[in-house]
């Protein structure tokens, strides 16, 4: 497949829609006083529903069906499958390991969940 020129390859909305905003900001940001936080039940339920994906028998069956129905473009010879598959599997495993090893050294230093801003607890019953 030929990659397009310009920015067609990137989905770049000019402003975030509701779904984006919900995922971007809900449960993030400075916790000033949990006691006083107004519940946003309606919005939270939407988010929870969107996030829950249960790996189950149904999921497996769905993938099996998707795989069965896959319209195949011939990418590997249909003959001598064992030999071809062994080679492919070897390359794939090596490739994966390489990517993971390569990244762990450089990137891990940058990963941090944000600087904790320690706040003194405000007075009041909770």
């Amino acid at each position: 497949m030929t990659a397009p020129v310009g920015s067609q390859a990137l989905d770049r909305p000019s402003s975030s829609g509701l779904a984006d905003v919900v995922e971007l900001i809900l449960d993030k940001g400075l916790v000033i006083d949990a006691f006083a936080r107004v519940s946003v039940i309606g919005i939270e339920i939407v988010t929870i529903e969107a996030r829950i994906v249960v790996a189950s028998i149904d999921t497996y069956l769905r993938y099996a069906e998707a795989m069965r129905g896959l319209a195949l473009t011939p990418r590997q010879p249909a003959t001598v499958p064992e030999l071809v598959q062994e080679v492919t599997a070897g390359i794939a495993a090596g490739k994966t390991r390489g990517v993971l090893d390569g990244v762990s050294g450089k990137v891990s230093d940058m990963l941090r969940p944000g600087r904790p801003v320690a706040l003194k607890r405000l007075g009041g019953r909770r």
């Binding site: 900001i25 994906v53 497996y60 473009t73 990517v99 320690a118």
Partner: protein
């Protein structure tokens, strides 16, 4: 639970420098009722709306205003976003917050000063990724041949086994591509938070804290990633945003 008296409720949207030039941004909130004002003490200020007539029931419009305001502020000044829906019972509490925490809040502002957040999300094109898995995994290939060969009347255990393998392979691809994204974008960022990978959720990505001077380079790198994955994954770039993922608040003694 006692939030009272109702007339004194103040909604806190975020924290900025007391001297931050933000009036022009605040003025973009057309709805005067929702337009926050600065509540300053010393070097820091809270963005507040209120006093509110009653305990608010946040609406969609409130959420959008909160986010758009913080994002617009982040483009021109340091801002610590407060968690949406934060309400303090009284102006005194807002003042107390600033008085007690001035130093910590300033340190928090310093940590994000000169930077904004980008959130990058990618979603695999299922057909393409399934083809990759078929090419890479002999067992998947074999099971599929068996099932197709039986004309759809495949045995249940084999269908389950195939689905299980595909499910695991998809999760591995999400983990691998999350790493690949980090590797492509981290050179242009100060810090990164990968989106937690959970289950078989098809989207993946992360949040990146990017210096204003590096924004163009970061956006170009994201675009390059989109080109590299074109056809097998859609890459979505949101930002510049307020640093939602780079501000974690915790109270003393908790």
């Amino acid at each position: 639970m006692s939030i009272a008296p109702a007339a004194a409720l103040h909604c806190v949207h975020g924290i900025v420098d007391a001297s931050a030039p933000i009036q022009a941004v605040l003025a973009t909130v057309a709805d005067v009722e929702r337009r926050p004002r600065l509540f300053a003490h010393g070097a820091v200020a809270a963005l507040v709306t209120g006093p509110l007539p009653q305990a608010p029931t946040p609406s969609r419009a409130d959420l959008m205003t909160h986010a758009r305001l913080l994002d617009a502020l982040a483009a021109c000044t340091a801002v610590l976003p407060a968690r949406f829906g934060t309400v303090l019972p009284g102006a005194d509490r807002v003042r107390q917050l600033l008085v007690d925490n001035e130093e910590n809040l300033l340190a928090g502002l310093d940590a994000v000063r000169g930077s904004a957040q980008y959130t990058v999300r990618a979603r695999h094109v299922q057909q393409e990724v399934l083809r990759e898995i078929l090419d890479e995994q002999p067992e998947v290939h074999r099971l599929r041949e068996t099932i197709v060969g039986e004309g759809g009347a495949a045995r249940y255990p084999e269908q389950i086994r195939l689905g299980e393998l595909v499910h695991a392979a998809l999760a591995a691809k999400v983990a691998e591509d999350t790493r690949a994204m980090l590797e492509a974008l981290c050179p242009h960022a100060q810090a990164a938070v990968p989106r937690p990978v959970s289950g078989v959720d098809a989207s993946f990505g992360g949040a990146y804290l990017v210096r204003h001077a590096r924004r163009e380079a970061f956006e170009a790198a994201a675009e390059e990633l989109g080109r590299r994955w074109y056809g097998r994954a859609r890459v979505r770039l949101l930002g510049p945003l307020a640093p939602y993922d780079f501000v974690t608040g915790k109270e003393d003694g908790r």
